[in-house]
């Protein structure tokens, strides 16, 4: 019998055979999250001359089940930026908590009451552009750890010159900016509508707040008609120099489902 201390308390090899350690993977990639579980669908956002409008519905789906219908996917950062989360909801909560810590750290050294009156953020505070860069590095780091946060994020706010700022980051850390942006299904369904509103920065800079909100609502309606993982309750945020205006319990208006009667060819229908 093996009397070495290493063998104490273990099943005896001569009785049970050698221990099979092969399941304890010592090499190869980590088996962390490889698919999201509870998910949020599209987030849409568009710039206008003084700021940015962002919208997302209040649904968190569990696969195809509409599991949670009161989930707020737009989060305010330091009263000056808004982040919209598509993708995994638990990763969203993690990020939200992390950003909350970041915002508290910011308050240690920077006093918002000392901000200049021209709307620019006081030197040293995190504006939307800084926040976007930070999140991009965070997401890319997690990708390289083979443990990505399963989200696509939109960041809206103002940059260092107090100009409207809107940018996107995905789970690989890919980052880009555009006058209109959408995540998930929205990039196919809402983006064409938003590009009709403004396809260039110049066009976006000539649009008003009311026009932007109107288009956002139109997009949310189209998404609800077409996207089977969506909800008619949604949140909409407007970011300007004056701060963030966030409404979290909006309802899609003037829906018409009359066309549904004429649809044929789905599910068990035969005619």
């Amino acid at each position: 019998m093996d009397h070495r201390p290493q063998a104490w308390g273990r099943p005896r090899d001569d009785v049970y055979g050698a221990y099979d350690a092969s399941y304890l993977q010592t090499s190869g990639p980590k088996n962390a999250t490889q698919s999201p579980v509870v998910t949020g669908t599209s987030v849409i956002a568009l710039k206008f001359k003084d700021g940015v409008v962002m919208a997302a519905d209040n649904l968190a789906s569990y696969g195809s089940l509409a599991r949670f219908t009161d989930v707020k996917r737009l989060r305010v950062f330091l009263d000056s930026s808004v982040i919209g989360f598509g993708g995994d909801v638990s990763d969203m909560q993690y990020l939200d908590r992390h950003l909350n810590e970041l915002a508290i750290d910011e308050a240690y050294d920077n006093d918002p009451s000392a901000a200049p009156s021209d709307g620019t953020s006081p030197p040293g505070t995190l504006n939307a552009a800084n926040l976007h860069k930070y999140l991009q590095k965070l997401m890319y780091k997690r990708r390289n750890d083979f443990d990505p946060l399963w989200n696509q994020l939109l960041v809206a706010g103002l940059d260092a010159d107090a100009k409207p700022y809107l940018a996107s980051i995905d789970l690989r850390g890919t980052a880009f900016t555009s006058p209109t942006l959408a995540t998930g299904f929205g990039s196919a369904l809402a983006q064409p509508i938003m590009r009709r509103y403004a396809s260039t920065e110049e066009q976006a800079a000539s649009r008003t707040r009311e026009e932007a909100i109107e288009v956002a609502k139109e997009c949310m309606k189209v998404l609800y008609y077409r996207d089977a993982r969506s909800l008619d309750r949604y949140s909409i945020a407007v970011v300007t120099k004056e701060g963030v205006e966030l409404k979290q319990d909006e309802l899609l208006e003037r829906q018409s489902w009359a066309f549904a009667e004429r649809i044929r060819g789905y599910g068990t229908q035969t005619v």
Binding site: A60, V71, K72, M92, R97, A103, A107, Y108, S113
Partner: protein
């Protein structure tokens, strides 16, 4: 063969006692010098005092005056920041620190000790959030930091904190969302809260080098604490006609000016911060008092001092006339 043990005078183990202490000089002269009981922490003197802690209090009594006022809709913190050098940038090197969104700390005494106190407070506030997913109540922070300071009176290897800290906070009166929560929970049901009870509100604590802490309506420490306390006692902080937050800011500025002795002390800068509820000017956050309001408060403070001086002079003149 063995020498007999002669009955020596100090055979029993016990604290070294000087002849002075034996004659009762300690009690009458209130001195600890030469007794040996002040040389280390964690040693009581025979009459039950920890001299190291008392010396730490002396360090506090040399520091610039700090005060805190708890009024009905918020808390104000103020400090007399003594200018030690003309080469220091104005309004830089803040003395009041933010610990969490809703919590502020000011202290008198040794500034490096205060900085460490603030660092530790921030760690505590964060640890609370990590554990409970909710902001730390002011009372709990005071309790934890009181415990932390008290630990520095127990061991030979450390010295007590040379500060007295004033902790102000506003615990949210609203239904606080859990950090990172999604949704609002059920739209019906009490959520474990009694609708008739008032939750949250402004809180003020003062923690001394011994680790002792109490909750206060108005707290003062540092060089000018006597004068400041006398002024604080004149305010109606507990009663029904309690001060508003903005009035408290003005009172705080005035008290710092009153507590400052122009003839003896160096020049100073007034630093003030405030915390209101969600419906107030700071929206539940600890923030520096805006420049405009601070300057207005300072103007009024100087004016009220001027008026007092004038009155005194008038009195003197009246006295002379009578003569």
């Amino acid at each position: 063969m063995f020498p007999e043990l002669s009955p020596g005078p100090q055979l029993l183990p016990g604290p070294r006692r000087s002849p002075k202490a034996d004659t009762g000089a300690l009690a009458t002269h209130q001195t600890s010098i030469g007794t040996g009981y002040d040389l280390a922490n964690s040693i009581f003197s025979p009459d039950g005092r920890n001299f190291q802690v008392e010396y730490a209090v002396k360090a506090v009594e040399n520091g610039g005056t700090s005060i805190g006022i708890r009024c009905k809709d918020g808390v104000v913190l103020a400090v007399e920041k003594v200018i030690t050098s003309k080469l220091l940038k104005q309004s830089a090197n803040k003395r009041i620190a933010t610990v969490d969104r809703h919590l502020g700390v000011v202290y008198s005494g040794m500034v490096p000790d205060g900085r460490h106190f603030v660092d530790r407070s921030r760690d505590e506030a964060r640890a609370w959030r990590d554990t409970f997913k909710t902001p730390i109540p002011t009372a709990d922070l005071a309790s934890r930091m009181g415990g932390y300071m008290q630990a520095y009176t127990l061991y030979q290897s450390v010295r007590p904190f040379g500060i007295t800290a004033i902790v102000g906070g506003f615990d949210s009166e609203l239904e606080a969302p859990v950090d990172g929560e999604v949704g609002n929970g059920p739209s019906v049901g009490a959520g474990g809260k009694n609708p008739d009870k008032k939750y949250g509100g402004p809180f003020l604590y003062m923690i001394e080098p011994s680790g002792l802490y109490w909750g206060y309506y108005g707290a003062a420490t540092g060089k000018g604490r006597q004068a400041a306390k006398a002024e604080l006692e004149k305010l109606d902080l507990a009663g029904t006609g309690a001060l508003t937050l903005e009035e408290a800011v003005k009172e705080a500025a005035r008290i710092i000016y009153v507590a400052h002795d122009d003839s003896k002390d160096k020049e100073f800068e007034l630093e003030m911060s405030w915390i209101s509820g969600a419906g107030g000017p700071t929206k539940g956050k600890h923030q520096e008092v805006p420049k405009a309001l601070r300057e207005e408060a300072e103007r009024l403070a100087k004016k009220s001092l001027q008026d007092d001086d004038d009155e005194d002079e008038e009195k003197k003149e009246d006295d002379k006339m009578e003569e």
